[in-house]
Symmetry: C4
Subunit: 213 residues, 4 copies
C-alpha cells in the first residue's frame, strides 16, 4: 500500500520534472530562433544591384554581432540549465515559480538583443547587461532553492556545488559590474571585457589556486 | 488475447496523452516567448544618444508591465494545466477538442497583451480580461469533462476536487467581474484589484473557514 | 546475435518515429501560435479613447474570424495526424520526405490566413482553399504510403481504413470544389458551405447508408 | 557499487542526449515555421479586387520559391541530423558547443531566405549560399567530433562513415562552389545547378564507380 503510494508519488515527480524540462527547452529553443527577427531586412528596392545589397548588409553588421552574442549567451544558459536539470530528482511548487521567472528573463532576451543591435551607445549596452544579470540572478535562485529543498539527487559533490557557485557568481558579477563600468567610462569595450572575464572567473580562480601549490 | 488488447489500448491511451501534453507544452512555450514581440522597438535613429534611448525605453514601461502580467497569467495557466495533466490517465476525442479550444485562447493572449501595452483605457483592459476569462472557462470545461468521463486517475480526492473548483471559480470570477467594474467606473486600478483577488479567492475562503473554528 | 540486431533495429525505428512525431508536434504547435500575428494591432494613437479602440477592434473582426477558422483547420489536421501516428509502427525515408512536404503545407497556413483576414474577395478565399487542399492531399499521400509500405501496426481494420479514406476524400473534395464554386459564382458563403460539408461528408454517407437498411 | 555508478552515468548520458535532441528538434521546427514570415503580405487596400490580389500574389512568387527552397534545405538538414543522432550513444561538452554553433546557423537561415526572396541578384544568392555552407561545415565538424571522441554506437560501418563523408562533402562543395560561380558569371541558374548537383554528388560517384566494374 505504502509502496504503491511511493510509486505514484515518484511517477508524479518524474512527470512534473519532465514537463518542466520540456517547457524550458521549448522556451530556450524559441528564444534562440526568435533572435533572427532582430536582424532587419534591407529596406531597399527589389531591383537593387548586388553592391547596393552588400552595403546594406554591411550596415547590419552590428545586428549580426548582437545575434551572435545573444546566441552564445542563451546557448550558455541552456548548457547550464541542462546540466542543472540533470542533477534534479524532483521539482516542487516554488521551483516551478522560480523557473517561470527565470524563463521570463530568457524569453525577454530577444528585446535587449534588438536594442544592442540597433543602437551603439552605453544605454543599449547597460539595458542588455541588466537583462542578462536578471537571468543569472534567477538561475542562482533556482540553484539555491533546489539545493536547500533537497531536490537534487546525490550526484553533486560539495566541490561541484562550490564550483557551480563560483561559476554562477562570476557570470553574474561580470554582467552586473559591466553596467557602471560602461555608464561611467562611456567605453563599450571595457564592458565587453567584463562580459568575457565573468564566465571565465572560475578559470582565473583555479589558475590562481594552482599557482599557490 | 484480451490482455494483449488491453495493453495495446493502454499504449494508445498513453500515446494520446503524451502527444496532447507535448502539443500543449509547445503552445504554452511559444505563447510565452511570442509575448516579447509585443514590446515595440524604439523608432529613433541609429545615432541616438543614451539619454534619448533611455527616455524611449521609459515610454515603453506600459508594454513592459503588460509583458510581465501576461507572463504571470500564462505561467499560472501552465502550472494549473501541468498539475491537471498529472492527474489524467487517458484522453478521449471530446477532450482533444476542448483542449484545442483552450489552447486557442492561450495562443490568442499575445494579441490582448499588445492592446494592454499599447493603450491605457477601459476598452483595452476589458478586452484583455474577456480573453483571459475565455481561457479560464475553457480550463473549467476541460476539468469538468475529465472528471465526468472518468479520465482521471485515482490520485484526486473529493477535497482536492472541491479546492480545484473553488480555485478555478475564483480566477474566472476575478477576470469576469473586472470587466463591468472597469467599464462602469472607468478606474483601471479597481480592475487590477479584481485580477489580484480572484486567484487568491480560495485563500480568503480558507481564511474565513479557519476563523470559524 | 540476430535478436540483438533486431532489438537495435527496433530501437532505431522507435527513435525515428519519436523524433518525426516530435518535429511534427513542434511545427503544429508553432503554426497554431503564429496565427495570432495575422491579427493586426490597431494603428491608432496611444491616447485613443475606449470607443475609438472598440471600433478599431471591430474593424478587425474579419481577421479574428480567420484566426478562428485556421485554428480549427490546423487543430483538425493535428487530431488526424495524431490519430494516424498512433497507428504507425515505423517510418522509412520516403515517409520522412512526404511528412516534411506535409509539414511545409501546415507551416504555410499562417500566410493564407493573413490574406483571408485582410481581404474579402474570391481570390483570397481561393488561395486559402488551395493551400488547405495541398495539406489534405499531402496527408492522403502520407496515409497511402504508410499503408502500402507496411508501416502500420495491426490496429487498423479494413473498415477503419475505408472510413479514413472517405473522411480524407470528403475534406479534400470540400476544399477543392470550393475554389471553382467561389471563383465562378463570386459568392463566398457558397464556398464556406463547401468547407463545412466536406469534413462532414462521411456522416452524410453513413446517414444515407443507414436509411437504406 | 561500481555498477550503480555506471547506471547513474548511463542515465546522465541518456538525459544529456535526450535534451540535446529535444532542443535541436525545437529549433528545427521553429526555423521551418518562421520561414513563412519571409513572405510579405500584399500592401494593397482592404477593398482590393480579386485580380489586384492575384497580381500582388504573383509579385511574391520569388518569395514563395525561396520559402520552398529553404524548407527543402532545412528539412534536408533535419533528416541528416536525425539520422546522425540515431547513431549517437552519448554527448560530451564539446559536442554541446558544436551543436549549438550548428543550431545557430540553422536558426539564422530565415534571414538569408528573406534576402533570397526579396532580391534577385548575385549578392543575395551568395549570402544565402554562404549561410548554408556554414551549416554544412558545422554539421561536418559535429560528425567528425562524434566519430573521433567515441560518441557513436557500433551501428556505423566504415562504408557508412565513408558514404556520410562523401555525402557531406558533396553538399558543402555544392554550396561553396556556387558562390564564386555566381559572383563571377552573374548567372543565377549556374549557382542553382551547383546546389542541385552537390547533394547528388555521392550518386554521381556511385554511378561512376559502378561503371568501372
Amino acid at each position: 500500500m505504502e509502496s504503491e503510494a511511493n510509486t505514484a508519488s515518484a511517477r508524479t515527480k518524474a512527470f512534473d520534472l519532465d514537463r518542466t524540462i520540456s517547457l524550458s527547452d521549448g522556451i530556450f529553443a524559441f528564444a534562440l530562433t526568435l533572435l533572427v527577427l532582430s536582424i532587419s531586412v534591407p529596406d531597399i528596392p527589389f531591383s537593387s544591384s548586388s553592391s547596393e545589397l552588400w552595403s546594406a548588409i554591411k550596415d547590419r553588421q552590428n545586428e549580426l554581432v548582437s545575434y551572435l552574442i545573444s546566441f552564445i549567451v542563451i546557448g550558455g544558459f541552456w548548457i547550464r540549465h541542462h546540466k542543472f536539470c540533470g542533477t534534479l530528482k524532483a521539482v516542487d511548487a516554488t521551483f516551478l515559480v522560480i523557473n517561470l521567472a527565470y524563463l521570463a528573463t530568457i524569453a525577454f532576451i530577444p528585446y535587449p538583443t534588438q536594442l544592442l543591435g540597433d543602437f551603439i551607445n552605453p544605454a543599449a549596452f547597460a539595458f542588455y547587461a541588466a537583462a542578462i544579470s536578471a537571468s543569472t540572478l534567477a538561475a542562482a535562485a533556482l540553484n539555491e532553492h533546489a539545493a536547500r529543498s533537497g531536490l537534487l539527487s546525490q550526484a553533486l559533490t560539495p566541490a561541484e556545488t562550490k564550483e557551480g557557485r563560483i561559476n554562477g557568481f562570476g557570470v553574474t558579477a561580470g554582467f552586473l559590474i559591466s553596467i557602471p563600468v560602461v555608464l561611467l567610462s562611456g567605453e563599450l569595450w571595457l564592458g565587453y571585457l567584463c562580459w568575457f572575464l565573468g564566465p571565465n572567473f572560475h578559470r582565473l580562480i583555479r589558475l590562481g589556486s594552482s599557482r599557490k601549490h
